[in-house]
């Protein structure tokens, strides 16, 4: 990448949203509305520049923005458009600073596009990276917060012009609680902006290169489909992941606890996995994969379900009996699997005290893929 990065083109948006959906590991919300919004901005002449984490000086300030609310509301009452932008401006005002760039909290799903849209309005570049390298359901589950980013001032904005600034918030868990309640009062779609971070801090804590990675994955899927190659094999090659199961879904069980959709999908193996059975635990995203009772991949590593034929990522809400899927395990970035990070995003944090995180090895890809 050149020091000035690259401009996002309209033709990048389909692959970008496809790659973002894949990195959403079953959750993160559908990027369709966000893709259309970005397309409209590009068509009306806005420039969206993606820059490398090495581009800006240490003391430059970076804003992190994302949508917060309920995905099902987002398909009916979608954005005025400037929610995240207004929240970001409110943080600048409260902190008395100016941002130099924006970054995504999560590259997985719809929030991959929110900073891109806010940056288009602000005329700011977007950093090539994010705070997860995937999707997770709560505000505190980013590398930025895990490694001690300031929690205030933060701000949340709705489409009506309401902006709420959180001047003092004692930790990231309180920020999640306040922001969630405010978002519901605002009608369950809102934009959240977090406190400014220095570029020096972001360079140390961001998962690097994930915007480009999502683009690369999306292009790979589309090209493999066009050339009628095996999509799954190509995705494994470009992500460095491994194929952990191939099977047909024989049961999906769901329940709602604590505001989150939890559940399990049961798969019966096909091809080289014939005779084996797998189980995937779900809470918005895919959390743990067991094959024949043995845990094989677990959070924070990525568990990605792809349609066996088309390579289309399958979100957890549309999982159902009879689908034939490939289950890929992608190694999460090292910043997400330190002891500190695992306290927030490891299996125990998602209610599996019996599991100790065992990372999947990136090298397995070459032998298993």
């Amino acid at each position: 990448m050149s020091p000035k990065g690259y401009l996002l083109k309209e033709s990048d948006l389909h692959p970008l949203s496809l790659g973002a959906a894949l990195l959403g590991t079953g959750g993160g919300g559908n990027p369709y509305i966000g893709m259309l919004r970005t397309r409209e901005l590009i068509r009306s002449g806005h420039e969206i520049r993606i820059i490398d984490l090495d581009t800006l000086p240490d003391d430059a300030l970076v804003g992190e923005v994302g949508g917060i609310g309920a995905p099902v509301v987002g398909i009916e009452k979608f954005e005025e458009g400037r929610e995240c932008y207004h929240a970001m401006r409110a943080v600048e005002e409260a902190a008395g600073v100016k941002m130099s760039a924006l970054i995504s909290a999560e590259i997985g799903g719809s929030n991959s596009l929110e900073p891109i849209i806010a940056a288009a309005y602000a005329g700011l570049p977007v950093l090539d990276g994010d705070g997860m390298g995937r999707a997770f359901p709560e505000v505190q589950m980013t590398t930025f917060f895990i490694y001690g980013a300031p929690t205030a001032p933060a701000a949340i904005a709705d489409e009506k012009g309401n902006v709420v600034v959180f001047r003092k918030v004692i930790d990231m868990f309180w920020l999640e609680r306040f922001a969630r309640d405010a978002a519901v009062a605002m009608g369950a779609t809102a934009g959240l902006a977090s406190a400014p971070m220095t570029m020096e801090y972001v360079r140390r804590t961001a998962v690097p290169g994930t915007v480009s990675e999502a683009l690369r994955i999306g292009h790979t899927v589309l090209e493999a489909r066009k050339d009628r190659r095996n999509v799954i094999e190509d995705v494994l090659k470009v992500t460095g992941g491994g194929l952990y199961f191939t099977g047909k879904i024989t049961d999906v069980r769901r329940e709602l606890t604590g505001g989150f959709a939890r559940g399990h999908a049961i798969l019966s193996g096909v091809n080289e996995f014939a005779g084996s059975e797998a189980r995937i635990a779900i809470q918005n995203e895919n959390l743990v994969l067991w094959v024949d009772g043995e845990p094989k991949v677990m959070v924070p590593d990525l568990i990605v379900n792809l349609d066996l034929d088309t390579g289309e990522p399958i979100t957890t809400e549309v999982l159902r009996y009879g689908q034939r899927i490939a289950v890929l395990g992608l190694p999460v970035h090292p910043l997400m699997k330190t002891e500190k990070a695992l306290e927030v995003v490891g299996p125990k944090a998602f209610g599996y005290p019996e599991l100790t995180f065992v990372p999947i090895a990136a090298l397995q890809a070459s032998t298993q893929g």
């Binding site: 409209e40 099902v72 509301v73 009452k77 005025e80 012009g161 009608g187 047909k248 009996y321």
Partner: protein, 515 residues
């Protein structure tokens, strides 16, 4: 009750006469370019075959692809203004933003955003602004457009804004034709709005087509009422269909699946409808097709219609059978309706799937001597390929591990003579005209889809309220009240929302009320 069911497809117009639950006669006639003379011909043929007089017919039900084709071919569409209520929300994406440009241009590319709309819990996003709406109405009037589609945010929760806006438009533009999105679709703003706009722009065509159907029926001497079937396999009165032509989209596959359920007497099954070129596979639940859960495109436009979840493969009675270096290839190309001249058994030169089953001695059709030269190895390989294709699509359509039976219908059903995927096989009488039977037996439905806060009213009260609303909707659509059953209840808790917000969908279905 004596009724006639008609299915107007792209190739064939099928018709049946039924006396109660008995099929008296079924015929296939060619669909004509003007559609109407094909209907007239089919009516004459089927009356003759059934031995019934036109005066005996109580009611006629028609399933048609005419409106779908008009959108796909961008013809006969009225200039339409799209008005959305919800500002400041949703300003980022104007109406028709994801439409193909030629279709948007074909209906005048005229859209407006105005204040109004509701939150998920019924609160107002912003008050309706009468002056703003009068201004929009005057602009629409000045542009010479008199068809409007109104869509308000969360109108499935509250349709008040849409109704108030409609009243304002009607006052300003006398004689204006209005479609409200709340009358058509469900949650999912862009998709519901798309459906409302497509419905509005079909308004003039629907007047003509319904009139032509009415004339065809009258010219056959039939005095009974007539209805059109909609995509969920239920009926709408002609006058209602004229207002909501968009609801006829995808009624073809629905009718054949409903017909299959009726002819076989089985209500939970996988249905395989084998035509000349493709096979449509779907699953039946309580006698109705399972609906698709993802957005379905019509003419390049995303919708969230109540469409059957049908999986199509390129396998039919006229599919080409070709030997390649990788083995036998079957379909997706086909001789289609030219099978009666091009297949080997009819003296043609093309090897088709029908030739294979005749050569294998599985079915008697055409001249068997003309396929006597085919090698047993070729026949066996082609049969194995056909079986594998059917097994694959049946497996895909299974929604539960329960061993459901497989019902095979359609003109291409001769390809099947043994169980698919180890499941029981049912090939009912009159299988070739199952789609017309599906139209003839269609019932009447009402549906509700909205979000309830269960913390306030409790789950039982919410479900009771939704059921009562669905029953009223069915009665309004023409169902006999005492025959109404609730056929589907789905409550989905919504993640991240407090107060146990739950999306409830209920469908009620009843027999047609014939006065």
């Amino acid at each position: 009750m004596i009724r006639i069911g008609i299915d107007v497809g792209g190739t064939n117009t099928d018709a049946v006469v039924m006396d109660g639950a008995r099929v008296l006669a079924g015929v296939k006639a060619a669909t004509t370019a003007d559609v109407m003379s094909g209907v007239v011909n089919a009516l004459a043929d089927v009356l003759k075959a059934s031995g019934k007089a036109a005066a005996d017919i109580d009611v006629v039900m028609i399933g048609t692809t005419h409106f779908t084709n008009a959108v796909v071919q961008r013809r006969d569409l009225a200039k339409t203004a799209a008005v959305r209520l919800g500002l400041p929300a949703t300003a980022s994406l104007p109406p028709m933003v994801d439409w193909p440009e030629d279709l948007r241009e074909a209906i005048g590319n005229l859209s407006y955003l105005a204040h109004g709309g509701n939150e998920f819990d019924g609160r107002k996003i912003s008050p309706l602004d009468e002056a703003e709406l009068i201004g929009i109405a005057e602009d629409i009037k000045a542009k010479g457009v008199n068809t409007i589609a109104i869509t308000s945010v969360f109108s499935p929760v509250s349709d008040e804004c849409e109704k108030q806006a409609a009243a304002i438009f009607e006052k300003t533009i006398p004689g204006v034709h209005i479609t409200l999105s709340s009358e058509i679709g469900r949650i999912g703003l862009l998709e519901r709005e798309n459906a409302a706009i497509m419905n509005a722009c079909l308004r003039d065509l629907s007047k003509d087509v319904i009139e032509a159907f009415r004339n065809a029926i009258a010219s056959a001497g039939i005095k009974g009422k007539f209805f059109l079937t909609q995509n969920d396999g239920t009926l709408m009165e002609a006058a209602f269909a004229e207002k909501f032509p968009v609801l006829t989209f995808a009624s073809g596959p629905t009718n054949s699946m409903r017909g299959a359920a009726f002819l076989s007497g089985v209500k939970d099954a996988i249905v395989v409808d084998i035509g000349g070129t493709t096979s449509d596979v779907g699953s039946l639940h309580k006698g109705f097709p399972r609906q698709a859960t993802v957005a379905v495109e019509v003419g390049g436009v995303r919708t969230n219609f109540r469409m059957p979840d049908v999986f199509s493969i390129g396998l039919g009675g006229g599919s080409h059978v070709v030997e390649t270096d990788k083995g036998i290839k079957v379909g997706p190309t086909s001789v289609g309706y030219r099978i009666i001249t091009e297949a080997l058994i009819f003296g043609g030169k093309t090897l088709t799937t029908s030739d294979v089953v005749v050569a294998a001695g599985k079915y008697d059709l055409g001249d068997r001597a003309k396929v006597a030269h085919l090698s047993p190895a070729l026949i066996a390989a082609a049969e194995a390929r056909i079986a594998a294709m059917l097994e694959d699509c049946v497996e895909r359509s299974r929604l539960s591990p329960d061993p459901l039976p497989v019902i095979v219908v359609g003109g291409g059903s001769i390809l099947v003579d043994k169980p698919i995927a180890g499941l029981d096989l049912i090939k009912p009488d009159h299988f070739a005209v199952a789609n017309a039977v599906g139209a003839a037996i269609a019932q009447v439905s009402g549906e509700v889809d909205r979000v309830y806060a269960l913390a306030e009213m409790g789950r039982d009260a919410a479900l009771a309220d939704a059921k009562a609303q669905a029953i009223e909707a069915a009665v309004n659509a023409g169902a006999a009240r005492d025959s109404i059953e609730i056929v589907d209840v789905e409550d989905v808790p919504l993640a991240y929302l407090p107060g146990n917000a739950t999306r409830v969908r209920v469908k009620a279905v009843g027999e047609l009320h014939v006065a």
